[in-house]
């Protein structure tokens, strides 16, 4: 089931463009499939971030009403779906598809046609989702045909994402270099495995729910499942913490990898770092078991037994992922104590990791009943932290591994500034929403905004500190948007006319730096034997000696 593309793209004179398009459409080269995922999801991410900024602006100035109030429900759905399922998840799956085989010393991805098929299915679903939302579909939509279309499109998107994740997981499990045990797998590949396994078991549950909702909506009855608003009620678990944390786990792997590269030393306590990444994968428990696990209100007044009844499952579902993310950030901080070489990937890894940590902490806090945060802007803040954290990490991954895809480097200072701007913007967009949630500003995963009272409820006439927080959040959205667009333009320009990269531009430790830049279609001329987790560092140390 391995397909290796060895022929160079053929160049004709008349139909060269068509041939190039056909090459991309039918490609089985994992680097191209990954770049397709990254490119298209990046485009949708920018659109979703722009919509989020627009909604944020609407919240700041409710008098002006920039968008038609009847379109707000669809814009909220576009923002949420676009950021998560059409942006973050495919972007990080794309990075994993493009990088993991190189890191493992494999000549190809396992099931490359499945991954490519997954990409096209996801793209088709993404187009239909946007189309259905434009025509008054989606959660809370008013046109039943397009509500149905939204549900079916979401199922297509889920099938596409699961196909990509399955391909990544199978690659890590079956296509490692000789001598590379799972303990010697690079951090990013390990995190991609954990994230992929989580996606493989969680997204089908969401898909099953959406199928039931589709049938209930298509064949309406007196069912509680039939209404267009039941989507927000029954499928919301796929859009909230801790389920969404699964998509961002590769950000943790990137942080650990770039931290080790930056200090040019072997990471200490490697096993603990791997375990911490795996612990973050405990986020799978809540959505898979449909176990939100809330600490009830007034728990302090309950008996000891009831407190334990609440605390133990809460710790399992929310505490373990938080502990895992904290462990990764601590391991990276420990590595970075010795004079790191500052670079765009390191800045992105750090800011992305910190935002994911913020999201994991917010996820736990959101489920403490006494804080009363459910239904407030706190949920939106947590969502923004995980999405923007993951996106900043994806930008770092592009800057880090780009040389292996197109053989050229990005300008270090400009790319560093842009990822810093995106990271700061992400913090600015999410943190004020978390604080606003603590101040009881309302919010929801899929708010239904109608002309009349509901509109006032969702966009209260904020004054004082809440108005300031909304303004800060808007600035954060705009910063992310500007940084993402500028970074994408810089990446495209660098891929064509950037400085030629050496084979090992970052003085790396793992196998991807042992091949040429750009890597050939089949990655490595020879399969390498690996005797440690840092095979390239071994070689360099021996050469120095």
């Amino acid at each position: 089931m391995t397909a290796i593309e060895t022929a160079a793209p053929s160049a004709g004179s008349a139909g060269a463009g068509l041939v190039a398009v056909a090459d991309w459409v039918t490609t089985t080269d994992h680097k191209r499939i990954g770049r397709l995922y990254i490119g298209v999801s990046g485009l949708v991410f920018v659109v979703a971030a722009a919509v989020s900024a627009l909604l944020s602006l609407e919240r700041v100035d409710i008098e002006r009403q920039l968008v038609d109030i009847n379109a707000l429900t669809q814009l909220f759905a576009l923002s949420r779906t676009g950021l998560l399922y059409l942006g973050l998840a495919p972007m990080l799956i794309g990075v994993a598809i493009a990088v993991v085989p190189l890191q493992l010393g494999s000549r190809s991805l396992t099931f490359p046609r499945l991954a490519a098929g997954g990409f096209w299915l996801w793209t088709f679903g993404a187009v239909l989702i946007v189309y259905s939302l434009l025509l008054n579909g989606g959660p809370g939509g008013g046109n039943p045909r397009f509500v149905d279309l939204y549900l079916l499109s979401m199922i297509l998107v889920i099938v596409g994402l699961v196909a990509g994740a399955l391909s990544v997981a199978a690659t890590v499990l079956t296509s490692r270099s000789p001598g590379m045990s799972l303990r010697r797998v690079p951090f990013f590949s390990w995190s991609a495995l954990i994230s992929s396994l989580g996606i493989i078991v969680v997204l089908p549950v969401l898909g099953g729910y959406l199928l039931v909702l589709y049938l209930a909506h298509k064949y309406p009855s007196l069912s509680e499942l039939s209404g267009n608003r039941s989507i927000a009620e029954w499928a919301a678990f796929g859009f909230t913490q801790p389920a969404t944390l699964l998509f961002a786990i590769p950000a943790l792997g990137l942080l650990l990898d770039v931290a080790a590269t930056a200090v040019r030393r072997r990471p200490t306590q490697r096993g603990a770092a791997l375990a911490a990444v795996a612990l973050a994968g405990a986020a799978v428990l809540a959505p898979m078991l449909q176990w939100p696990m809330v600490i009830r209100e007034g728990v302090a007044d309950l008996g000891a037994g009831q407190v334990i009844n609440d605390l133990l499952p809460f710790g399992l579902v929310h505490g373990l992922p938080l502990l895992g993310v904290l462990g990764v950030v601590a391991a990276a901080a420990r590595s970075l104590r010795t004079k790191p070489a500052l670079s765009a990937p390191l800045v992105a890894g750090l800011l992305g990791g910190l935002l994911v940590l913020l999201a994991a902490a917010a996820s736990a806090a959101n489920h403490i009943g006494d804080l009363g945060l459910v239904g407030t802007a706190f949920e939106e803040g947590a969502l923004l932290a995980v999405v923007y954290g993951g996106a900043v990490s994806a930008m770092g991954a592009i800057a880090y591994w780009g040389p292996k895809w197109w053989g050229r480097t990005m300008p270090p200072v400009v790319s560093g500034l842009l990822v810093a701007l995106a990271g700061i913007g992400g913090a600015l967009a999410s943190l004020p929403m978390l604080v606003a949630g603590l101040l009881d500003q309302p919010g929801a995963v899929f708010p239904t905004v109608e002309v009349g009272a509901d509109a006032v409820v969702y966009f209260p006439d904020a004054e004082g500190p809440v108005a300031l927080l909304n303004g800060l959040s808007l600035l954060g959205h705009l910063a992310v948007l500007v940084a993402a667009v500028a970074f994408a333009a810089l990446a495209v320009r660098s891929s064509r006319s950037g400085t030629a990269a050496g084979d090992d531009p970052w003085d790396g430790q793992t196998l991807e730096w042992a091949t040429t830049s750009p890597a050939p279609a089949d990655n490595f001329a020879e399969v390498h034997v690996v005797r440690s987790a840092e095979p390239l560092l071994d070689l360099k140390t021996r050469s120095d000696a």
């Binding site: 089908p204 969401l206 064949y219 042992a514 095979p535």
Partner: protein, 193 residues
């Protein structure tokens, strides 16, 4: 470029088997989630004013549903027989075993269609009917995928790729997983009702 020591070409590491196992995990999660939704609604209805989950007048044909469960045993035995025979390079036995698995798969689909036809339950009847058709429909799709898998394996094996033991093992794994999933469904949908 760094010169790491080369290795001989690695032996394949059961890619199809691992891929099938991951797909089975996804399928089990899909069905598990839908059955969880079923049980949640069942509990609400039974404890609610209606005091019943199965709509009045609806009778589930128990014979075909039980026969479908019983068919899981020979499906697993035949799938394992195919693996056993393939290991011994016994093409005819392997072909017969895979063929029997496919045949039982088709019979499973037929029995499910019979249940739908006999019950005559309109899909727009309420939560029960929506969930019933969603759950049994997904199960039937999984059976169709299994039959197609069996046909593909049979063609590849009998077409000359008799060294491809892994594919026959993956085929068996799929049907084991299918049997487990159907057993869950049978208990939740047809026994507890």
């Amino acid at each position: 470029m760094h010169a790491l020591p080369p290795a001989p070409a690695p032996t394949p590491r059961r890619q199809v088997l691992v891929g099938t196992a991951l797909a089975c995990a996804a399928g089990t999660a899909l069905m598990g989630g839908m059955l969880a939704l079923w049980m949640r609604f069942r509990e609400v209805y039974i404890n609610g004013p209606e005091n019943r989950w199965l709509p009045e007048g609806v009778v589930i044909p128990e014979v075909p549903s039980n026969v479908m469960l019983i068919a899981m045993l020979p499906i697993c035995v035949f799938a394992q027989w195919a693996v056993y025979s393939a290991k011994r390079h016994d093409r005819s036995h392997t072909g017969v075993a895979i063929g029997l698995v496919a045949l039982l798969g088709v019979a499973f689909i037929n029995a499910q269609a019979f249940i739908w036809a006999t019950m005559g339950l309109p899909i727009a009847e309420g939560n029960y009917s929506v969930l019933f058709y969603a759950v049994t429909g997904v199960m039937t799709v999984m059976a169709v995928i299994g039959v197609v898998f069996s046909v593909v394996v049979a063609f590849r094996y009998l077409g000359g790729r008799s060294a491809d033991l892994e594919l026959v093992s993956a085929h068996a794994l799929y049907w084991y997983s299918f049997s487990v999933v159907y057993s869950m469904l049978w208990f939740v949908v047809y026994v507890t009702k």
